[in-house]
């Protein structure tokens, strides 16, 4: 690991000032991704600002019955919080579909949003990668690309965002609170992560010197008809090839409100809110769910090794919507898919 300067921030303001004043600095929270990237010489911060002492470890009640989740709440604490288990079951389920208990104990809410892709080439500094070193090219295009994007990719990058938690947050429509040198602002979850376009080195829309402070999730009606369905190479402790966070409000067999986001298929959690709205009032049945899959996967394109993801995603969407409609969410312990 390369040498770096280390400081501990005692206040959010200190952290933001330190981050804004040094373009070579990075924040350290749980470390489960950053320390790994530093070992691979992919992340090369000249300075580490340890934010683990900041008072961002609480889950607070919001007036509407929603929750405000501090950026340093661990993935375990969040998934097992009684209020989250009761009010945001989709979120709890998605978190428990990811990583391992050890990693979830260390990994934080903010860190989960900011984790980098697991593209093999991004992790290998001996290969060209536009995300790691802009302008060098994309080794995955025409290379080994089984785990790569089928939606929203560019000719600069076909990497996917690796998070499970973020797929649920996209479906639920969370809000990201950030603080920067110019004060605080909110970012809609849909606008937080970005597609690669011409600048795959930028995973998200944070400005220089900004840090994630908290997430807010509003109360919703999705705690009966929801599921997080994750398909991967082994049953646990693996990143998604395709995952689906589905939630709906169903009244007398008709969809009132539909939310669906995909993981493992794009540079960000893939959601199409406009398409969702078109299905309001339709029957919650297989014919409708096939149309949802069609709409969501419109424009999907394989890269060769990952061509299988297109039919896999189609089937996963339909199955997840059936699970959600039936009120039978995917069990993250017993992995059989009903």
């Amino acid at each position: 690991m390369r040498r770096f300067d280390y400081t501990r921030a005692e206040t959010v303001h200190d952290a933001v000032v330190a981050l804004a004043s040094n373009p070579d600095a990075q924040l350290l929270a749980g470390g489960t991704n950053l320390v790994d990237l530093m070992k691979y010489d992919v992340a090369r911060p000249g300075a580490i600002i340890d934010i683990n002492r900041l008072p961002l470890k609480d889950i607070e009640e919001l007036p509407d019955g929603g929750l405000r989740i501090g950026a340093l709440v661990s993935n375990s604490a969040l998934a097992y919080d009684e209020r989250v288990k009761e009010r945001f079951r989709l979120l709890s389920s998605a978190i428990l579909a990811g990583a391992s208990p050890q990693l979830r104990n260390a990994a934080t809410t903010g860190g989960n949003l900011l984790q980098r892709t697991r593209c093999y080439y991004f992790y290998d500094p001996s290969t060209p990668c536009n995300k790691r070193e802009p302008g060098t090219g994309c080794s995955a295009i025409g290379g080994v690309n089984r785990i790569h994007a089928i939606l929203g990719a560019s000719d600069k990058c076909i990497a996917v965002h690796p998070s499970d938690m973020c797929v649920a947050l996209a479906a639920l429509g969370a809000t990201v609170e950030v603080e920067g040198p110019d004060g605080n602002r909110d970012i809609d979850f849909a606008d937080f992560h970005r597609l690669p376009g011409e600048h795959p080195e930028r995973d998200n829309t944070l400005q220089a010197g900004e840090m994630v402070i908290a997430l807010r999730i509003a109360r919703n009606h999705f705690n009966r008809n929801y599921t997080y369905l994750k398909l991967r190479d082994r049953l646990s402790y693996a990143f998604a090839l395709v995952s689906v966070a589905a939630a709906m409000e169903v009244v007398e067999g008709q969809i009132v409100d539909l939310r669906i986001a995909l993981g493992g298929v794009a540079h960000k959690p893939w959601r199409n809110a406009l398409a969702e709205a078109e299905f309001a009032g339709q029957e919650a049945n297989e014919a409708t769910f096939m149309q949802v899959a069609d709409r969501l996967l419109s424009g999907a394109e394989g890269q060769g090794h990952n061509d299988f993801k297109i039919p896999l995603a189609e089937k996963a969407i339909i199955r997840a919507l059936k699970q959600a409609a039936a009120g039978r969410p995917q069990d993250q312990v017993v992995k059989a898919i009903q």
């Binding site: 690991m1 350290l28 489960t32 320390v35 790994d36 050890q102 260390a106 402790y237």
Partner: protein
């Protein structure tokens, strides 16, 4: 004394970490992971380095009672923390119930992943969320065993969980 073992001339930070109940004041370079601190200067080689990337679980220890991959924790970030390693759970003459169960159930072959498996299993019991064999398997999925001793590992944990339900034991490290 500890800092001398890490070599002189490098920039260091001061941290206080309780390791297996003993308070240690350490001056360490910030890029040293907890795993390397344990196995190097502190000579606690029970904790194993497998992948060194959070993918195998061999380095699992308990930090403030929670199981964590020590390879991904910078030691400098653990000021004030309490760390328990396999050495802090039991001794050959006074095995922790989980260690005893692993021996009785032949829950290992080469033994390399075992300290991590046992620390992880102790964390699992403490969390109190495993209710079934399937829960045990899922909640132990962060610990790989290339010898494939999984079924015996699950047997050992199941026995301790059963005993725990009947009569809670006090952690040896406490």
């Amino acid at each position: 004394m500890d800092s001398a073992l890490l070599g002189s001339g490098l920039p260091t930070c001061s941290v206080n970490i309780s390791i297996n109940g003993e308070n240690r004041s350490l001056d360490i370079p910030p890029w040293v992971t907890l795993l390397d601190l344990l196995r190097g200067p502190l000579e606690l080689t029970g904790t194993k380095k497998g992948c060194d990337h959070g993918q195998c679980g061999a380095c699992t220890v308990l930090i403030n009672g929670e199981r964590v991959n020590s390879c991904l924790k910078l030691a400098v970030s653990l000021d004030g923390a309490e760390v328990t390693t396999i050495e802090g759970l039991g001794t050959p003459d006074n095995l922790h119930p989980m260690q005893k169960a692993f021996v009785e159930h032949d829950a290992f072959q080469c033994g390399y992943c075992t300290p991590g498996q046992i620390c992880s299993a102790v964390g699992l019991v403490k969390e109190g969320r495993a209710r079934s064999r399937a829960d045990i398997r899922e909640l132990m999925s962060g610990n790989l065993c290339r010898c494939g001793a999984y079924s015996n590992i699950a047997d050992a944990i199941e026995e301790v969980l059963g005993a725990e339900a009947a009569q809670p034991y006090k952690e040896a490290a406490e």
